[in-house]
């Protein structure tokens, strides 16, 4: 390929007889592979190979420097047995409520309401609602950590509206830390879900709504019987993107709580970091990473099957 790159010929295949052409065609069928190769090589070397390596390491007990001992599936048993590791996996699935369910529900309602009445200020609103998507999540975590702090703006707001008794150190509270961190996921994802669903509503065939009106549907039944089913694909896309974000959520948690208090907000990323750099249990860390990646792929596959258009 380097050859063609340096000396691109104006006329590659001379306009000769059809026989030479046909032979050229067959060789040409392999040419696309040359174009695919460099990108794939990078991908295989820096993503797929490390992943397989991680799966392999998960079968060993290894502290990162010494000799490794084969332990088979023991590391996986530890994930089930240790509260911290189990909590990490459960929490990351719990975050789906905040990253996916709430944003899609809010986004659906907002999109359904807004689609009917266009507004000229919409581009500005869109720009603002999209903002959380482009911010580094570390920065988002830093900001919200302060907002939730003991004498931060959130508690200030509660006091101002007469709910001062509710004020607390949100991120230090065993009950409230998890939903407090989770809500940031909703803050990040709702705009994206709303805009995805709004663009989907624009593609719904208007005759469906006319038919619903003829059948005497009110706005609520119209929402359930026309809007939601027609957005099946967009809902699937929004769910896929946000579930990946929920399961791989690390930045916000690392910065805000470090997984605490106790294991209340811990996620696999935090546990992996601690297992490798504090506990020296590289094999267990890899097992946890493997379980997370397999679960993520399984969930993706499931959603893909569920929301595929029939």
């Amino acid at each position: 390929m380097a050859e063609t790159a340096y000396a691109p010929r104006r006329v590659a295949v001379p306009r000769a007889g059809t026989a030479t052409r046909r032979r050229g065609r067959r060789a040409h069928r392999l040419v696309p592979l040359l174009y695919i190769a460099p990108g794939f090589l990078f991908y295989l070397t820096f993503v797929i190979a490390p992943w397989l390596q991680s799966v392999w390491i998960s079968l060993w007990e290894w502290n990162g420097v010494g000799v490794a001992t084969w332990v088979g599936l023991d590391n996986y048993a530890e994930i089930l047995a240790e509260p911290a590791l189990r909590a990490a996996l459960l929490n990351s699935f719990g975050f789906i409520i905040f990253y996916t369910v709430i944003p899609i529900a809010l986004g659906l309602v907002l999109a359904a309401v807004v689609a009917a009445t266009p507004w000229r200020a919409m581009p500005v609103i869109r720009t603002v609602l999209f903002l959380p998507q482009i911010l580094p999540l570390v920065a988002v975590g830093v900001v919200w950590k302060w907002i939730y702090s003991e004498d931060g703006p959130f508690n200030q707001l509660l006091v101002a509206v007469g709910l001062g008794d509710f004020a607390r150190a949100w991120l230090g509270d065993f009950t409230w830390a998890f939903p407090a961190v989770g809500l940031i996921g909703s803050w990040v994802s709702t705009g994206l879900c709303f805009l995805l669903l709004l663009s989907g509503i624009g593609r719904i065939d208007p005759s469906l709504y006319e038919a619903a009106k003829m059948d005497g549907c009110g706005p609520v039944r119209e929402f359930w019987h026309v809007t939601v089913p027609s957005l099946r694909r967009e809902i699937g896309v929004a769910a896929t993107v946000t579930i990946i974000a929920a399961l791989a959520g690390f930045d916000v948690v690392y910065v805000m709580t470090g997984g605490g208090p106790g294991h209340a907000t811990t996620v696999p990323g935090v546990q992996v970091y601690e297992l490798v750099f504090t506990a020296g249990r590289v094999g267990t860390a890899c097992a946890l990473a493997t379980v997370l990646s397999v679960l993520t792929c399984a969930v993706m596959y499931g959603i893909n099957r569920l929301t595929k258009e029939r």
Partner: protein
């Protein structure tokens, strides 16, 4: 009435998004001595907090590290995604299906699943604590999205375009460079911006693969800054604003590309 309600809902949503930004700006301008400022606009804004934060955390070096990583990733990632996207679009071999599935896998794999081996591999390759430790894996990790994105672009073009070039006897390379690439500018701009943003914002690999403070990137630096100055809210807020400003400016300049890229990218 409905009109009023819908607009009210939209404005409320936008205000919810903007509130933390205003809050942090007000915090960044408080007198440096107020360790836990509430939500109040300072009577006299202390802009010097930005200068203090800049020098204390060495944001100059942090931002340039982020820039090196992002500018290292984008050109290579774009070239390879273009080539592979074109290759995949014109590929008629049966191996196409498996290749496709392999790329799909990459869209779902979390970074947690690859970071540990990368740490040990980079260490034995003597690349740990260098910018390459981040650049190389990020190029690989962005490949699936990039390939799908470029393939979708090439397949959206009318078939006649490629056929006409073939009739003229143009080679694959020639077709790509002089017929297809001129149409790909918007697609490439969007992809480049998204890759730049992802590289700039990336945290996990930065935290683990570059632990040398001199080579650290901005998000990782902010993460460390919180641990050191977590109690000094004005300084911390100023630091946060410094870290997000470049990417927010980029977004405001190219918002169409960003919004289109993320919305369409998700759908594809």
């Amino acid at each position: 009435m409905t009109r009023f309600l819908t607009r009210g809902a939209l404005v409320l949503a936008a205000a919810t998004v903007l509130f933390p930004f205003l809050a942090i700006l007000s915090a960044a301008l408080q007198p440096p001595s107020t360790l836990s400022p509430g939500l109040a606009w300072p009577s006299s804004p202390h802009w010097e907090n930005f200068a203090t934060a800049w020098t204390t955390a060495g944001f100059g070096s942090l931002l340039s590290s982020s820039a090196i990583v992002a500018f290292g990733v984008v050109p290579i990632a774009l070239v390879m995604a273009t080539l592979a996207g074109y290759g995949l679009a014109m590929c008629t071999l049966r191996i196409k299906g498996p290749l496709f599935a392999l790329l799909m896998l990459g869209l779902a794999l979390p970074f947690e699943a690859i970071v540990i081996p990368l740490y040990y591999d980079m260490r034995s390759a003597d690349l740990l604590n260098s910018h390459w430790a981040m650049i190389l894996p990020l190029i690989g990790a962005f490949m699936p999205f990039g390939v799908f994105w470029m393939r979708a672009h090439f397949e959206s073009l009318p078939r006649e375009l490629v056929e006409a070039a073939e009739m003229d006897g143009a080679s694959h390379w020639r077709t790509l460079v002089s017929v297809l690439l001129p149409t790909a500018r918007p697609a490439l701009t969007t992809l480049g911006l998204l890759n730049f943003m992802w590289a700039w914002n990336h945290f996990l690999l930065a935290l683990i693969l570059i632990q040398d403070p001199a080579k650290r990137t901005a998000p990782a630096g902010l993460g460390k800054f919180v641990q050191q100055f977590g109690k000094n809210i004005p300084l911390l807020s100023a630091g946060t604003i410094i870290v997000i400003t470049p990417i927010v400016l980029l977004y405001l300049f190219f918002q169409r590309h960003f919004i289109k890229g993320i919305l369409q990218g998700a759908v594809k």
